[in-house]
C-alpha cells in the first residue's frame, strides 16, 4: 500500500518515486501547494476507492499521516 501511495504522490507532484520518504510534506516538496493537495486527495480516492472527509483532508499533510489515515479507513470500511 505504501508503494501505491508513493506512486500516486510521484505522479501528482511530478517527481521520482525514490525522492518520496516518510517525512515528505509540503515543506520538502515545492510542488505541494493547495491546488496540488486537491489533486492528491482525488487521486488517492480514485486509487483506493475511498472518500476522505474534511478533517482527514486537512490532516493529510505528510506521507506518514497519509499512510495512517488510509490504513485506518480501509480497516473501518471493510
Amino acid at each position: 500500500m505504501e508503494t501505491k501511495i508513493k506512486n500516486v504522490m510521484a505522479a501528482v507532484f511530478e517527481m521520482p518515486v525514490e525522492n518520496i520518504n516518510i517525512d515528505s510534506s509540503p515543506d520538502s516538496i515545492d510542488n505541494w501547494d493547495s491546488l496540488k493537495h486537491m489533486n492528491l486527495i482525488v487521486a488517492l480516492e480514485e486509487e483506493f476507492n475511498i472518500e476522505f472527509n474534511d478533517d482527514e483532508i486537512t490532516e493529510m499533510m505528510n506521507f506518514k499521516l497519509i499512510v495512517e489515515i488510509i490504513k485506518h479507513k480501509l480497516q473501518t470500511d471493510r
Binding site: A10, V12, L35, M38, N39, V42, A43, E46
Partner: protein, 579 residues
C-alpha cells in the same frame, strides 16, 4: 481504449510530455471557478494522439482580463460557470425580482461580448453553454436560474463569431450524471465544482475540435459487409436471407448503421467496402437489394476479394491518396480487427459489438473522429471527385508516357487572389493537407481572414479542372510581403491534383505576379513531417537556391530575375477573380 484512472493519467501525461516532440499546441483555459485539474486530463488526451498539448490555466475568476492575454494561444477554452457569475447566485437568484435578473443578464451579456471581442483574432475559442441543471429546482420547469441560463445561451449563440465553438455542457453532465460530475466538498472552500470524471468526459467533447484543428480528423470509413452492413452471410445465407430491413428486429440495426454511414458521406467522409466475398454477389446487393441504402453512387472504393484485409486497406489508402491514420475500419470479426490492429496500427478499428443493439450507439459515440471544424462545398461533392480520380487512373494506363497523358486531360487552373468567399475552404485545406504541404502550418478561418485582409500578405488559391470534371479549390499559397522581399508562408495542394505539374504552372504565375508588384526576391521554407517527403525538392526544382539545410527544415531563396519559367503548354491558367 479503457478509461484511465486519474493517477494513471497524471503518470502517463508526465511521460508523454517528455516523449512527444512535435511543435507545442498551446491551450489556455480561462474560468470563473477553480478548474486546474482539467490541465493534465486534456493534455493527456491529446498527447496520446501525438499533439504536444500545453494547457495553461488562467487566474481564478478573471475571464475578461485573461482574455486580453491569451489571444495568441492555439486554442482558448472559456469555462464560464453560471453559479459563480455572482457570488452565491445559484441560491440567491430565486428571491430576486425580474429587473434584478435582467440587470445581471445584461451585465454578463456585455462581458461575453467584450471577451469574445478580445479573442476575435484567436484561432479557436471553445465556450461552454451556461447550465442550470447542477442546481435543480425539480418541481419548476422554469426557475429563475433556468431562465437566466436560457437568456445567456441565446445571447451566446447569437453573438458567437466563426472562431467560437460551443460545447453543450448539459450533454457532458448527462453522459455521466450530475452526482458523478460535481464534488461540493471543494466548492465551498475553493470554488472547485467539478470532479475528475467530469473533466474526463469534457475532454472527450473538446478533443474532436482540437484534432480537427491539427489536421487529424478521419477522412474515410471502410466497412466489412456480412454482419457489419447487414445481418447474415451473403455467400451462405443468400441474397434473399440477408437482413437490413427497417421492419425486422435485427435488420433495423443495420438499417440504422447504413443511415449513419450515409450521413457521414453527406459531410464528405468517403465510404468504402472491404469484404471477403465474390464481387458480383456484393454488386448485386448494392444494385438490387430493396433494403440496401448504401448504393453505388455513395461508395468511393470497393475491395471485394479474397486477399487479406491489411493488404486491401493499404491499397485503399494508396488509391485514395490518404494516410492510413485517416481511415476508420469497421468489421464484426475479431480476427480481422486484430489483424488490422497489429499490421496497421495507424488505422482506427471499430468492432461490431457482441450485443448487436449497442452497435449504432457505438458508431455514434465515435462520430467525433470525423469532426470537421469547417465544412465546405468541396466536402459535399467529395465522393464524386474521388470517383473521377479513378477514371483518370484508368485512362493513365492507356498512354505510354505521363506527359502524353497529361496533355490529353485538358487541364485548366483558375487562380483566385485574396478571395474572402473561399476562407472556410482555405482554412480547411491547411488543417487537412499533409502530403503536398511545404510547411504544414494549420490555420483557422480567423487566421486566413487576417491574411486575406492584410496589405502585407497575399493569399492565392486555385481550382483545377480537366475534361472529367472540376476538382474545386485544391491549392493554396500564402505569401508575406516585406518591402522588396516576399516570403512563402504556405504552399499546399490537395492530394487529388498531385502529379500533374500544376504546382509549376502556379509558380510561373506567382513569380510573374510578384514581379509586377516590384518584388525582387523570395524566401521559402520546407519543414519536414512524417508525410511530406515528396515535396522536399520542390523549391530546388523551381530554381530556388538552398540557404541552409538539415534533417528537419531547409531554407531557400530566389532572386526573381534568376527564375526559369516552366511554360507547361498543356495547362491553361486563368484569373479566377470576378473583376
Amino acid at each position: 481504449m479503457k478509461t484511465l484512472s486519474y493517477p494513471e493519467i497524471l503518470k502517463l501525461n508526465n511521460e508523454l510530455g517528455k516523449s512527444v516532440k512535435v511543435k507545442p499546441y498551446r491551450i489556455s483555459v480561462i474560468s470563473n471557478i477553480t478548474i486546474h485539474q482539467i490541465k493534465e486530463i486534456i493534455e493527456c488526451s491529446l498527447r496520446i494522439e501525438n499533439i504536444n498539448a500545453i494547457v495553461e490555466i488562467g487566474d481564478y475568476d478573471n475571464i475578461i482580463q485573461d482574455s486580453t492575454k491569451v489571444a495568441d494561444s492555439n486554442a482558448v477554452i472559456i469555462f464560464w460557470e453560471l453559479c459563480n457569475i455572482v457570488e452565491g447566485l445559484n441560491y440567491k437568484i430565486e428571491q430576486f425580482e425580474e429587473d434584478q435578473i435582467n440587470e445581471i443578464a445584461e451585465k454578463i451579456c456585455l462581458e461575453i461580448g467584450l471577451t469574445l471581442k478580445n479573442l476575435e483574432s484567436s484561432s479557436l475559442v471553445i465556450v461552454n453553454n451556461f447550465s442550470s441543471v447542477i442546481f435543480p429546482y425539480l418541481c419548476k420547469t422554469q426557475s429563475n436560474f433556468d431562465n437566466l441560463a436560457n437568456i445567456l445561451n441565446k445571447h451566446l449563440s447569437n453573438v458567437a463569431p466563426k472562431n467560437v465553438k460551443l460545447i453543450d455542457v448539459n450533454k457532458v453532465l448527462c453522459q455521466i450524471g450530475i452526482h458523478k460530475s460535481i464534488d461540493l466538498r471543494y466548492y465551498f472552500s475553493s470554488k472547485a465544482l467539478y470532479t475528475i470524471d467530469f473533466f474526463k468526459e469534457y475532454s472527450r467533447f473538446v478533443k474532436p475540435l482540437i484534432m480537427s484543428a491539427n489536421g487529424k480528423s478521419k477522412k474515410a470509413i471502410i466497412f466489412d459487409c456480412d454482419n457489419t452492413l447487414w445481418k447474415g452471410i451473403l455467400g451462405e445465407d443468400g441474397f434473399e436471407n440477408i437482413d437490413m430491413s427497417a421492419h425486422s428486429k435485427s435488420g433495423i440495426i443495420f438499417h440504422e448503421i447504413q443511415s449513419l454511414a450515409l450521413a457521414l458521406n453527406k459531410q464528405g467522409i468517403l465510404l468504402g467496402l472491404c469484404s471477403k466475398n465474390n464481387l458480383s454477389d456484393i454488386e448485386e446487393v448494392i444494385r438490387n437489394h430493396p433494403d440496401m441504402l448504401i448504393r453505388e453512387e455513395y461508395i468511393t472504393i470497393k475491395k471485394i476479394n479474397w486477399t487479406d484485409k491489411a493488404t486491401n486497406i493499404r491499397q485503399i489508402a494508396k488509391e485514395l491518396n490518404i494516410g492510413l491514420d485517416s481511415i476508420v475500419f469497421v468489421d464484426d470479426s475479431p480476427f480481422e480487427i486484430n489483424l488490422i490492429k497489429e499490421q496497421l496500427p495507424e488505422v482506427k478499428v471499430l468492432q461490431v459489438p457482441e450485443k448487436l443493439y449497442e452497435y449504432p450507439q457505438m458508431l455514434r459515440s465515435n462520430l467525433g473522429l470525423f469532426y470537421n471544424l469547417s465544412l465546405t462545398k468541396e466536402d459535399l461533392v467529395k465522393s464524386q471527385i474521388y470517383k473521377q480520380q479513378s477514371k483518370r487512373e484508368e485512362l493513365k494506363s492507356c498512354f505510354s508516357n505521363v506527359e502524353e497523358y497529361l496533355s490529353s486531360l485538358e487541364l485548366k487552373i483558375h487562380v483566385f487572389e485574396d478571395d474572402s468567399s473561399l476562407i472556410p475552404r482555405l482554412a480547411q485545406m491547411t488543417q487537412k493537407t499533409n502530403q503536398f504541404n511545404l510547411t504544414t502550418q494549420r490555420y483557422t478561418e480567423t487566421d486566413i481572414e487576417i491574411f486575406v485582409n492584410s496589405d502585407t500578405s497575399k493569399v492565392f488559391a486555385w481550382s483545377v479542372s480537366d475534361k472529367f470534371g472540376d476538382n474545386g479549390i485544391t491549392g493554396l499559397c500564402i505569401i508575406k510581403l516585406n518591402d522588396k522581399n516576399a516570403e512563402i508562408d504556405t504552399f499546399l495542394m490537395s492530394c487529388r491534383i498531385i502529379g500533374r505539374n500544376i504546382e509549376f504552372s502556379v509558380m510561373d504565375f506567382l513569380i510573374d505576379h510578384l514581379n509586377k508588384i516590384d518584388i525582387d526576391s523570395i524566401t521559402a521554407k520546407y519543414l519536414q513531417t512524417a508525410k511530406n517527403a515528396q515535396v522536399a525538392d520542390f523549391y530546388k526544382k523551381c530554381s530556388f537556391k538552398i540557404l541552409h539545410e538539415n534533417e528537419k527544415e531547409s531554407k531557400f531563396s530566389l532572386e526573381l530575375k534568376n527564375y526559369k519559367n516552366k511554360n507547361i503548354n498543356y495547362i491553361k491558367l486563368e484569373n479566377g477573380n470576378k473583376n
